[in-house]
């Protein structure tokens, strides 16, 4: 397995560095695309991450349902909290593996040696992580709709999930590229990540609860806007700081 994954990775780099220009994509975007595609292909072949993330999601929802002994009213009120806590915890599993597996295989050095912009590496990794989190979120929306009998597939709620996941994976990718060098990286990542993503978590839960309770949009719209602003702040900050994290 690992041989094929490594092969995939070097192939992707060659493509990113040397393949002839196709259509109107800039080399930068093609580099980002190559990294995302490499991660996806490695995952499709091994399925080590997505399976454990989905199982973890199922178990977390089970634990919440049993631990909280929910009646119908309570469910309606806390489903947004259950949704976001599960996305964050399952997401941390994925974020932790994303760069750790690169480092363990030694392919992280190859990625850093490749003649590509460091920010392209960041956005490639971030989009890969985002796709995993979105798969989890989709499974979770389905699961909570069925188990909690609350319809979660509403356009604005899906938008909230998208915005929240973007902010969460942005900071998460930056911080996991730091914790990958630490001794106890599995425990360090949540400790570093949770205080920093709180603004995203607060606005996402508030807006989701407002949308689910069918409150008028002026009650929860400010939270959606705040979340969008937080996403922009984190994207810019991570873009600026990632160079300092991976320089070596």
């Amino acid at each position: 397995m690992s041989a094929s994954a490594e092969h995939t990775q070097s192939e992707a780099q060659v493509q990113a560095a040397a393949s002839p220009r196709r259509r109107a994509m800039t080399p930068y975007l093609r580099t980002v695309g190559a990294i995302v595609w490499k991660d996806l292909r490695a995952e499709i072949r091994s399925r080590e991450l997505i399976n454990s993330m989905i199982l973890f999601t199922l178990m977390t929802v089970l634990v919440f349902s049993l631990a909280l002994e929910l009646d119908a009213d309570a469910r309606q009120n806390i489903v947004a909290g259950v949704l976001w806590v599960t996305i964050v915890f399952a997401g941390i599993l994925g974020l932790g593996r994303s760069l750790a597996s690169e480092k363990d295989r030694g392919s992280l050095d190859a990625l850093l040696l490749a003649p590509i912009a460091r920010s392209a590496l960041f956005f490639g990794k971030m989009i890969g992580n985002l796709l995993f989190v979105l798969v989890i979120a989709f499974v979770l929306l389905l699961l909570l709709t069925v188990l909690f009998n609350v319809t979660l597939f509403k356009p604005y709620l899906v938008l909230m999930v998208l915005l929240g996941s973007i902010g969460f994976t942005t900071v998460g990718t930056l911080l996991s590229s730091m914790t990958v060098h630490a001794r106890a990286r599995e425990t360090l990542l949540p400790i570093l990540l949770l205080p920093v993503v709180l603004p995203i978590l607060i606005s996402a839960v508030r807006a989701s609860t407002g949308i689910l309770d069918e409150m008028p949009s002026e009650d929860w719209m400010p939270w959606v806007q705040l979340l969008a602003i937080a996403d922009v702040i984190f994207l810019v900050a991570s873009y600026a700081l990632f160079d300092f994290v991976v320089e070596e």
Binding site: L175, M178, H181, L198, S203, F234
Partner: protein
């Protein structure tokens, strides 16, 4: 590096000065101001509460400035300032939280509530405790300095944003002594006369104490680094 006698003497003088100021501030807190009209004796803890918050604010502020300066200049003295700021700031914010809880129990009838101000200081404490964990977890010194600077900056940005977000909810019960007051604080009081004198004296005292403690912590770190280098040199000679 070693310190000149002159600078050591300056630091020593300021340290004794800070100690004298602290004793004077405690005397003011306990004897100069009378008990507050409605809250009584428990209100005296307020001067330490606000003073230590100012100390934490200054120390964490130094960390952010040091983080940005480190990434620009790569001078290790900025990293030393950064870690000193976090440690002193954590100590002061712990004092702020504990004195606040001691006050809140009789006045609000609870030790803790998820009020916006309490939430934001709790998050601040956790973020900087995480900073210390990050430093402890990374072995390579150069990488540790870099990562600590990056995390110090991103944690501060997130913290500022969190503080703004939770303030958007106007339902705080925390009293505001300086600045505009909100509609319905629980346990606020009028600042006038002796209370104002004591308050300003305490704020000044805590600012001086913060500077002294950060200075000592920076020197301690430099000594630790020097010892480490000496140890390496001796080992290399063997």
């Amino acid at each position: 590096m070693s310190y000149s006698v002159q600078r050591t003497n300056v630091l020593r003088a300021i340290t004794y000065g800070a100690l004298a100021l602290f004793v004077a501030a405690m005397i003011m807190n306990l004897f100069y101001v009378g008990p507050e009209r409605t809250q009584g004796e428990v209100q005296r803890v307020f001067y330490i509460h606000l003073g230590s918050f100012l100390g934490a604010f200054l120390a964490f502020g130094a960390t952010v400035v040091a983080g940005i300066a480190y990434l620009r200049t790569r001078n290790t003295k900025w990293d030393t300032l950064g870690v000193a700021g976090v440690e002193i700031g954590l100590g002061f914010s712990t004092i702020t939280i504990l004195t606040g809880m001691a006050w809140a129990r009789p006045i609000w009838n609870t030790w803790w509530t998820w009020d916006p101000r309490l939430t934001s200081i709790a998050i601040m404490w956790l973020a900087y405790a995480a900073y210390m964990m990050l430093r402890a977890g990374i072995e390579d010194p150069e990488r540790r300095r870099r990562f600590a600077a990056v995390y110090g900056i991103i944690a501060f940005a997130s913290l500022l944003y969190t503080v703004i977000i939770i303030r958007l909810r106007p339902d705080t019960i925390h009293p505001v002594v300086a600045g505009p007051t909100q509609a319905d604080p629980e346990g606020s009081f009028e600042v006038s006369g002796r209370i104002r004198d004591t308050l300003f004296f305490n704020l000044f005292t805590f600012a001086v104490i913060t500077v002294v403690l950060v200075w000592h912590r920076v020197r301690l770190q430099n000594l630790l680094d020097r010892t480490e280098r000496r140890k390496m040199e001796v080992l290399a000679e063997l």
